[in-house]
Subunit: 356 residues, 2 copies
Amino acid sequence: MPNLRNQSTDTLLYVNKVIDSFFSERIKEAELISPFYAQLWSDIARLIHAGGKRVRPKMTVLAYEAFGGKDSKVIYPVAASQEFLHLSLLIHDDIIDRDSVRYGVDNIAGAYEKNYYAHVEDSADRGHYAQSAALLAGDLLISSSYRLLSESRVAPELLSKVLAIHSQSIFEVAGGELIDTESAFRPLGSIDSHTVALYKTASYTFVAPLLIGATLAGVSQQTIQSLIVFANNLGTAYQLRDDVIGVFGDESQIGKTTIGDIREGKHTYLVEQFYALASTEEKVHFELYFGDQHVQKNEVESIKKLFVSTGALARVELAITHYADAAQEAARAFNVDDVYRAEFEQLVTAVTKRDK
Amino acid sequence: MPNLRNQSTDTLLYVNKVIDSFFSERIKEAELISPFYAQLWSDIARLIHAGGKRVRPKMTVLAYEAFGGKDSKVIYPVAASQEFLHLSLLIHDDIIDRDSVRYGVDNIAGAYEKNYYAHVEDSADRGHYAQSAALLAGDLLISSSYRLLSESRVAPELLSKVLAIHSQSIFEVAGGELIDTESAFRPLGSIDSHTVALYKTASYTFVAPLLIGATLAGVSQQTIQSLIVFANNLGTAYQLRDDVIGVFGDESQIGKTTIGDIREGKHTYLVEQFYALASTEEKVHFELYFGDQHVQKNEVESIKKLFVSTGALARVELAITHYADAAQEAARAFNVDDVYRAEFEQLVTAVTKRDK
């Protein structure tokens, strides 16, 4: 995704500064417990700097500034907390999806497989211990997201409001994640991809970060409502784009495998549209490989061709345009300076037209 | 553990009420996302009522009342938050230890194995999906522990202090858990069981719950320091007792297998003492079974005999007495009414003499 605004570089810089200083403190403290614990924190620090577009912190800062917030000392740590939540979800998501690469480098489990190589002979055991380290890393990041919020300079009377939004977003994303995972084996139709998009993605990527920023800027309840409409539409478009990239993207660009979604048999909107459009023969072909743990690259290629030839991909593109338009309409109603309205609009374009 | 005090039954009752009402709200909200998500919340609610001595909530209430706190509306939700953290750790711990039973019933992963039976044919896949549900359940409980704190009626200026103690305890317990897990395969001596006891157990079981209660009662920094000494000694004694019960306990009483620690090859203080005392021959015998994923009941019995015959068990009992005495000494210095001092002293006895 291209930079969203001039100040975007500043946001990135300051948020990364907060992250850096948080991790160097934790590594020092962990060292007092055990060098093995410091290793885990160093590995999390390595991963958070290996990639990530800081979309969620940018949302928090954008909403805060657009609606009149001025105190950068308050907002950057709050914004960084949203990146911690994101990374915790990625790390736990990778355990669930059995992936060992993230941002084009070893994720926590991947790094620990290597770390434990000399100590654990049995490869299944080693994998299990590596996943256990990743499990703890994700737990620590959830806690750290709350910690950054509660250590921030947010006024005491606003802190519990911000924490409530944060807790709600974790409640929603875990629900989205659960049903997304179960969609691999529940009957088609029992879990709707739109619900998954709203709860797994829109909620913690756009709704909560924007609402936290806006709340700290002191907006009205009406503005909160229009931000939710904006964020839900934007988030849905974002997830649909993600589903497309997850299958059709360039692996070297996106830093992870494009086999995963097919291998895990995720019932994305793309898959729903395929089922709505495909012939019986095409479905039989599809089900040969979809959800197969040992699916091969060339088999994935044949699935991709089916998504195109049936028109499923085109339908997803249409839906993305629909949700993007709805988000644009909501943004036009925001009571902000034109320069910020333009940013919200550019954001929609950036999110929906990206290829990584 | 026997009841600690007359009010202990009240604590149990009120804390369980908070827990009940929290879960019925979450189940209702989860239903709006998907019945599959409501299922997960129902399952967590089932598990939290299947057992648990509510030790940590009792600590919070005890410290609060002993040091002069009077507002029960404030303290019970705060106390319940400590049980949520505990359950999250148990659920994630069970993933790490590959256990499917807790409190004598199916844990989350165990229940989901059955839940998914009709939907996922491959048993390895089914196990993986069941663990994924358990992973999310633990994440939700970490977040819920913060949520209860931030929704509580704690005065705004105290909330960030309480959250800081809570975050610190999660930081410490994750470190303790990591090195405890790694102790199964790191060289003997590189991870010290005393450090594990302090961080894996004392920290979140005694230090944080007591400090949170005392902080809300408005104690001095000096009292905080003496509470830490008390809690660290008590917690260490508690963990040593746990190690003994984990191997020598009655499975029907403790609600989990007594094979686990031997199977996972945990380097507890008991094991450290065995190595300090055993002959080469005894060590060879020991290492035949210790850390063996397929260890049998009768082999575990022969290990237990070795712990007794070498005097390792007796050394652990001596250490428990030592830490219990140190905790008693700290309690004598507390500036509280005699009735509360007696409770702190009874607590030490209850914790160190228990058999489950």
